[in-house]
């Protein structure tokens, strides 16, 4: 309808029309797994060379791989799974992409239209199951709709607040001839029109507040990364123009260079002391592309109590959802930053230099607490501190084209704290959903997109087992992904919460009978390395980087180490625990706090 602009041309099969539409949408790789309902698509893939197919070992991994591909390239990731279990296995990945606003199109086989609703073999109500798991989904019931739906799906996935879109494709639609039309140059949707241009009046209000701020802070999130590398460049330009302190969310790491003195580090539950206290004490807060997530705000009624809040977001539903703001700017982060920079330069008001200097002096006091500190014993045979392992990994990879993915848990937080990102799209982690098993398949997708880059999955020994089968995919496609396991033999984050909140009763958080990760790597045609003490660490890291094959580096780390600093559940930003020595003097966790996750 509104998505195409040429006269239709009849293709031999729906599958052929589908592939042609994918090519027109710039798809060069699909992550997928075959099955009965999608055989016609696999047959069409077999007969062409433009689109590469990466055969994963589990459909969840196909979606995470497409996420890694999308997040490291800025393009829409593409997934292909079969009906029934293929679709249900993909659901975790779809929700992950939905929570983190990752653009994906998931093509899914379905039983033929005449069998839908008959409980046919490998039938599932896929559009029903994935309705709340996607930004939008489609069931194609007529061949004439197929190509229009594909073009529309890509438009919906990549525009506005990006997200996953699923297309359910009955087998008869894939077999029957289908008309093909090129996508329109300027596609216009009937009902879907996301607002991307910010309202200039709101921009002016924001700049007026910022110019007069005495204790400002910029808080930037994944929306800036999603808006493309230029948005991150403009964020850096704007922040330097203002001289204001800036903090990034977990999703926003890399949007502002970590080495810049204006950078306060990550904020939130395991953010730095200076970032969280700046948020608590500021008088003007500028939120760019972040959503006041509960990991960031801590206790809501104590969140940044004395500030005027400006919130710029592409999604109007994110504004005033949990935190009431004073100025709401709806728009794309790139357009918003352009407008902010122009308005800042145009407004001749001088910032209050003396007040800002006082604010920075206060921040420096907080910084001097050095809240990410840890002590690595250096005696021979000393056990490795996990933070030290990340720091050494970071030092060893500086100056290289490095991409980091993670699983979920303590290792993820240590990676976020101790690995420093200078550029966007280099850091892929499951933020919103917190999906264990994300990192290995995501790294696979990154490596497919960047064959010559160094791609490292910083993992825990529990998370990695959730998608370990993808070692097979790494071997098949010679993807030299490095898996850097911080092995403490515990589900560390679960254990940490049990220690702090449940009287150190470590219920089910210790992994008995872990595999020998060295042998495991070898059995999957990779290389396994192990560091048992601090003496081995640098050598293992250097070897891992040098080997042009998939590598598992099993780093045996201190089992008892916890992630600090920490805002306990239900506590406020100014009630942080800085380390184990403060564990007993922090705020008592209330029953309300206990109920939070």
């Amino acid at each position: 309808m509104d998505h195409t602009n040429t006269a239709p041309e009849l293709m031999n099969s729906g599958a052929e029309a589908l592939l042609r539409a994918l090519k027109a949408q710039g798809v060069d790789v699909i992550f997928g797994y075959p099955g009965g309902a999608v055989l016609p698509i696999y047959d069409a893939i077999f007969q062409q060379n433009e689109i590469r197919h990466i055969l994963v070992r589990h459909e969840q991994a196909a979606v995470h791989a497409a996420e890694g591909y999308a997040r490291s390239t800025g393009k829409v990731g593409c997934v292909l799974v079969t009906s029934g279990p293929g679709a249900t296995n993909a659901v975790t990945g779809l929700v992950d992409a939905l929570m983190d606003s990752i653009p994906l199109v998931c093509l899914c086989g379905q039983v033929p239209t005449h069998l839908i609703g008959n409980d046919a073999f490998q039938e599932a109500d896929t559009t029903g199951i994935t309705r709340p798991a996607t930004k939008h989904n489609y069931l194609v019931k007529q061949s004439g709709d197929l190509v229009r739906v594909v073009h529309e799906a890509f438009l919906v996935a990549r525009t506005g607040r990006p997200g996953p879109v699923l297309i359910d494709l009955p087998k008869d639609i894939l077999i029957a001839p289908a008309p093909y039309e090129e996508p329109a140059a300027q596609p216009v949707h009937r009902s879907y029109r996301p607002q991307t241009a910010p309202d200039p009046r709101r921009i002016a209000e924001a700049v007026a507040l910022l110019k007069r701020a005495e204790r400002p802070v910029i808080y930037a999130g994944g929306g800036v990364i999603n808006a493309g590398p230029e948005a991150s460049r403009l964020l850096t330009e704007f922040t330097r123009l203002t001289g204001f302190p800036i903090t990034n969310t977990l999703m926003g790491l890399g949007a502002f260079p970590a080495s810049d003195p204006l950078f306060l580090g990550m904020l939130g539950m395991h953010g730095t002391y200076e970032a969280n206290l700046a948020m608590h004490g500021c008088d003007v807060m500028l939120n760019l592309g972040a959503r006041f997530d509960d990991r960031v705000t801590g206790r809501l009624n104590a969140f940044s109590p004395n500030s005027k809040k400006i919130h710029a977001d592409i999604d109007p539903a994110n504004v005033n959802k949990t935190v009431q703001v004073d100025v709401a700017i709806i728009g794309d982060a790139l357009a918003t930053l352009k407008a902010l920079i122009a308005a800042w330069k145009q407004d001749s008001t001088k910032t209050d230099k003396a007040a800002l200097a006082n604010w920075w002096a206060q921040i420096d006091v907080w910084r001097s607490k050095n809240s990410l500190r840890f002590t690595q014993p250096r005696d021979k045979g000393s056990i490795i501190k996990p933070q030290y392992a990340i720091e050494r990994l970071y030092q060893a990879t500086r100056g290289r084209e490095t991409y980091i993915t993670t699983e979920v848990g303590q290792h993820q937080m240590w990676a976020a704290q101790h690995f420093k990102f200078e550029k966007p799209n280099r850091w892929m982690t499951s933020g919103g959903l917190g999906t264990m098993g994300y990192g290995l398949p995501a790294a696979m997708g990154v490596q497919v997109a960047h064959p010559d880059a160094l791609v490292i999955d910083i993992a825990g020994e529990a998370s990695i087992l959730m998608n370990i089968q993808e070692m097979g995919t790494l071997a098949q496609y010679r993807l030299p992904v490095k898996i850097f396991i911080l092995n403490n033999q515990y589900m560390g984050m679960v254990r940490q919460w049990q220690e702090l909140l449940h009287g150190s009763r470590y219920s089910q958080s210790y992994s008995e009978a872990l595999p020998d990760f060295v042998k495991l790597a070898e059995s999957f045609h990779g290389v396994g390395l192990r560091a048992e003490s601090v003496d081995d660490l640098d050598r293992v890291i250097a070897e891992m980087i040098a080997i042009d094959k998939p590598v598992i580096a099993d780093i045996c780390v201190d089992q008892k180490e916890n992630v600090f600093p920490m805002i306990p559940s239900g506590a406020a930003h100014n009630e942080m625990l800085l380390g184990p020595e403060h564990k007993d003097e922090g705020p008592a966790v209330t029953n309300e706090g206990m109920a939070l996750v």
Partner: protein
């Protein structure tokens, strides 16, 4: 949130008339824990391409704003209009079956007349009334029918529209 801060809102949503669109709207309410007090849906365009969903919901001002924003971001949604922000008309239709004989039956008919309910079916032991009006009028009539042999009710839910020249499109 205290109950006293809750307000009722009548929200009209103009949607693409495609398969699953009602499930999207209802799923949004159940998935995010919003209330649905009342819901109607029917095609409103001559070609059947658009439907109008009217939802009566309750929540704090912040939640009502969230509901509208969440509805508006659904792909097949053209327009979301909060009718309760201004003067509007809301009507509902009910079919009401009352069983009884003698004085009770006669009293039911007298009250129906007072409420301008129409008799659309009758036997010697029953009346079926058709009544149109605002929700509270229907509620009041049903309350009166209860002791008089109220046996069954079918209600359409609320159709609503803004007063004056304001339109949804």
């Amino acid at each position: 949130m205290s109950e006293t801060n809750l307000r009722s809102a009548t929200i009209s949503v103009l949607v693409e008339n495609e398969s699953g669109v009602l499930a999207r709207v209802i799923g949004l309410f159940s998935g995010r824990g919003y209330n649905i007090d009342n819901l109607t849906v029917a095609p409103v365009e001559r070609d059947g391409s658009k439907s109008r969903i009217t939802v009566v919901t309750r929540g704090t001002a912040m939640v009502i704003e969230q509901i509208k924003a969440q509805l508006d971001r659904l792909v097949p949604v053209y327009k979301v209009l909060d009718l309760s922000e201004g003067p509007h008309l809301a009507r509902e239709l009910a079919l009401i079956k009352v069983l009884g004989t003698g004085e009770k039956r006669a009293e039911a008919l007298r009250l129906a007349d007072a409420f301008r309910a129409r008799v659309i079916d009758a036997t010697t032991e029953s009346f079926t009334f058709e009544l149109t009006g605002a929700t509270d009028k229907l509620d009041a009539f049903l309350e009166l029918m209860r002791p008089l042999g109220l046996a069954e009710v079918s209600r359409t839910g609320v159709a609503a529209i803004a007063r004056g020249t304001t339109t949804i499109s």
